[in-house]
C-alpha cells in the first residue's frame, strides 16, 4: 500500500535532483529548469498531503495551483532576463557572469 511517506520521499528525491541541477549546471536556462523541478517536488508534497492529511478540504491542491501560477510568472521574467543578458554578452553561461564579486 502506497502511503504519504512514499510521496514525500518521491518529493524529496525530485527536490534533491533539482538542487543538484541548480548547483552543477552552467547554462542559465538549464538552471531555471532545475528550479522548476524543485517547485514540482513541492507540488507533489502538497497534493499528496492534501489527500492523506486533510481529507475533505482542498487547501493543498489550491496551494499547488498557486505555486504553478507563480512559477510561470517567475520563469517568464527569468527568460526575459536571460534574453536581455544574451543580447548584452552573447552568452548565457553562468561562469562568465563574474563582474560582481568582492
Amino acid at each position: 500500500m502506497i502511503g504519504l511517506p512514499h510521496y514525500l520521499l518521491l518529493g524529496a528525491v525530485v527536490f534533491s535532483i533539482g538542487v543538484f541541477g541548480v548547483l552543477t549546471r552552467r547554462n542559465a536556462v538549464a538552471v531555471l529548469m532545475s528550479v522548476e523541478l524543485m517547485l514540482n517536488a513541492v507540488n507533489i508534497n502538497f497534493v499528496a498531503a492534501n489527500k492523506f492529511m486533510a481529507v475533505g478540504t482542498a487547501v493543498g491542491q489550491l496551494f499547488s495551483v498557486f505555486v504553478i501560477v507563480v512559477a510561470a510568472a517567475e520563469i517568464a521574467v527569468g527568460l526575459a532576463l536571460v534574453i536581455s543578458i544574451y543580447r548584452q554578452r552573447g552568452t548565457v553561461d553562468l561562469h562568465d557572469f563574474n563582474l560582481l564579486k568582492w
Binding site: 513541492v42 492529511m53 507563480v70 527569468g78 532576463l81 548584452q88 563582474l99 560582481l100
Partner: protein, 472 residues
C-alpha cells in the same frame, strides 16, 4: 463584507496597474505626469492608512489579518516607497522614457509587502512574497544597457527562486505533518516531529535569504552593487522589513518557541550572532559605498534578529522601532550616495572625498545617517539598539547583547571612514552637487526623523508597543 477595510490594498493594486497601463499608452512627454500620479497616489493611500490605523478585522476565515501590527508595517512600507521615489528623481533620467514602468513596479512591490505582513496563512504569504520579489527581479535588471545591472538581476532571480523553493518545501513539510496552512491552527497543533522541525528550519532558511542573514547573505553585496541605487535602497529597507514582519508573525503565532524538543530561540540567536559578526567584519574592508552599505545592511539584519530571538515585548518593540528608523537612516545615506553617483558617475568611497567643501549640508546629513546606523546617541539608531539588546538581556541572552554591543563599536570604524573621506579627503571636483527638489525633501525628512526619534523616542516606541500586543 466591508471592503473599506481592504481599502489600502485595493487602492494600491489599482494605482500600480493604472501607472503601468498609462505609462505604456501615453507618449514620452506625458510620462512625468504618470510619475506624479504614482507619488500622489501613494501619498493619499498613506494618509488613508494613518486615518484607519486602529481598524482591525479577521477576513476570509483568518486568511487575511488586518491589525495594528500589519498597519504599522504598511505605513512603514508606504513611507519608504515614497521616500525612495522622491530621491529617485535625479537618477530616473538614466531610465530614459521608461521611467513610469519603474514607478509601477515599485508600487506592485509595495503591494506584495503589504500582503505579506497581513497574511494569516502560508498561501497568502507566499503570493505576497513572490509579488514583491518578482517585481524586484525586474527592477534590479532595469538598466538594460548596463552589464552590472543585468548580471545582478539574473543572479537575484536564480538565487531568489531557489530560496522560495526551499521556503515552499518547508511549508509543504509542515502541511504534510499538521494538515493546515493557517498560522493559528498550526500553532494550536504544533508538535516537534522531525518533519515539522525540518520544515520550520527550511522556512527559516527561506526568510533568512530574503532578509540577508548569514549564511544566506551571499547575494546581497552583488545585487546591491549591480542594481540601480533607488532599487538598492528599497530592497534594503522595504524587502528586509517585509521579510522580518512576516518572520515575526510566523514565529510568534505558528511556532511554539518554548518547545522542549528543539530550542528555536537558540537557533535564531546563533544566526543573529554570526550575522552581526560577519556582516561587520567584511564591511571593514569595503571600498565601494554600495557594497559597504550592503554589508552594513547584513549587520543591521543581525541586530533586528536579536529582537526576534528575544521574542518578548521589549525585543519585538525594538524590531518594529528599529525597522522604521533604519528606513530613515538608510534612505538618507543612499540619497547622498545617489547624488554623488549622479554627479561623479562613481560609487567608490574615494568619490566622497572633499564633499564637506562641495556640499557641507550633504556631508553633514551623511554623517548623521552613518552615526544613526552605528548606534551613537543621540541618533535614533541608539534608541533602537537599546530596545533590541535590552530585550535580549531580559530573555537571558546576555552573550548575544554583548556581541551586538562590541560589533556596534567595530562598525563605527567603517561608518566614520566615509565621514573621514568627506571631511579630510581632497578632491579635484569643486562645484556643489545638484539635488533635485524631491531628493531635498527626502533628505530633510530622513535627517529630521533620525534626530527627533533619537532625542524623543517615546511616542513611536509606545506605538510599536501597542502594535505587538496582538502577537504576545
Amino acid at each position: 463584507m466591508d471592503f473599506s477595510i481592504l481599502g489600502a490594498e485595493i487602492l494600491i493594486a489599482l494605482l500600480g496597474l493604472a501607472v503601468l497601463v498609462l505609462g505604456l499608452s501615453l507618449p514620452g512627454k506625458a510620462q512625468k505626469y504618470v510619475n506624479g500620479l504614482a507619488l500622489t497616489g501613494l501619498g493619499l493611500v498613506l494618509i488613508y492608512l494613518i486615518i484607519s490605523f486602529s481598524k482591525g478585522a479577521n477576513l476570509f476565515n483568518g486568511v487575511y489579518q488586518i491589525d495594528l501590527y500589519g498597519n504599522y508595517f504598511k505605513i512603514l512600507f508606504l513611507s519608504a516607497g515614497i521616500l525612495v521615489m522622491l530621491m529617485a528623481g535625479t537618477y530616473i533620467k538614466r531610465f530614459e522614457e521608461k521611467s513610469s514602468e519603474f514607478y509601477g513596479l515599485m508600487i506592485l512591490a509595495t503591494l506584495g509587502m503589504m500582503l505579506m505582513v497581513s497574511a494569516g496563512e502560508f498561501i497568502t504569504l507566499y503570493v505576497g512574497l513572490e509579488l514583491m520579489t518578482i517585481s524586484f527581479y525586474i527592477l534590479t535588471a532595469y538598466l538594460k544597457s548596463d552589464k552590472l545591472s543585468g548580471e545582478a538581476g539574473l543572479k537575484y532571480l536564480i538565487l531568489g527562486a531557489v530560496s522560495s523553493a526551499i521556503l515552499l518545501f518547508g511549508i509543504s513539510l509542515v502541511y504534510a505533518s499538521l494538515g493546515t496552512t493557517n498560522f493559528i491552527e498550526i500553532g494550536a497543533s504544533f508538535t516537534s516531529s522531525s518533519a515539522v522541525i525540518a520544515g520550520v528550519v527550511m522556512i527559516i532558511a527561506g526568510f533568512a535569504f530574503k532578509v540577508s542573514v548569514v549564511p544566506f547573505h551571499m547575494w546581497t553585496p552583488d545585487i546591491y552593487q549591480g542594481a540601480p541605487i533607488p532599487v538598492t535602497t528599497y530592497l534594503s529597507v522595504g524587502s528586509k522589513a517585509a521579510g522580518f514582519a512576516a518572520l515575526v508573525r510566523v514565529f510568534m503565532v505558528a511556532v511554539d518557541v518554548s518547545d522542549p524538543v528543539f530550542n528555536w530561540s537558540l537557533l535564531l540567536a546563533v544566526l543573529a550572532a554570526v550575522t552581526i559578526i560577519i556582516g561587520n567584519l567584511i564591511a571593514l574592508s569595503q571600498k565601494d559605498i554600495k557594497r559597504l552599505l550592503a554589508y552594513s545592511s547584513i549587520a543591521q539584519a543581525g541586530y533586528i534578529l536579536v529582537g526576534v530571538t528575544a521574542a518578548n515585548s521589549f525585543g519585538l518593540k525594538g524590531v518594529l522601532f528599529y525597522a522604521l528608523i533604519y528606513v530613515f537612516a538608510n534612505v538618507g545615506a543612499f540619497a547622498v550616495a545617489t547624488a554623488v553617483e549622479v554627479d561623479t558617475g562613481r560609487t567608490d568611497i574615494e568619490a566622497f572625498a572633499g564633499l564637506s567643501k562641495r556640499s557641507p549640508l550633504l556631508a553633514a546629513i551623511m554623517t548623521i545617517c552613518m552615526l544613526s546606523l552605528a548606534g551613537i546617541p543621540p541618533m535614533a539608531g541608539f534608541a533602537g539598539k537599546f530596545y533590541l539588546f535590552a530585550g535580549a538581556i531580559q530573555s537571558g541572552y546576555l552573550w548575544l547583547a554583548l556581541i551586538g554591543l562590541i560589533m556596534s563599536m567595530v562598525s563605527v570604524y567603517y561608518y566614520l571612514g566615509v565621514s573621514k573621506a568627506m571631511y579630510i579627503g581632497e578632491n579635484s571636483y569643486e562645484a556643489p552637487l545638484s539635488l533635485g527638489s524631491g531628493s531635498t525633501v527626502a533628505l530633510w525628512v530622513c535627517v529630521l526623523a533620525t534626530i527627533l526619534l533619537g532625542v524623543y523616542p517615546g511616542p513611536l516606541s509606545e506605538l510599536a508597543g501597542a502594535a505587538i500586543q496582538i502577537l504576545l
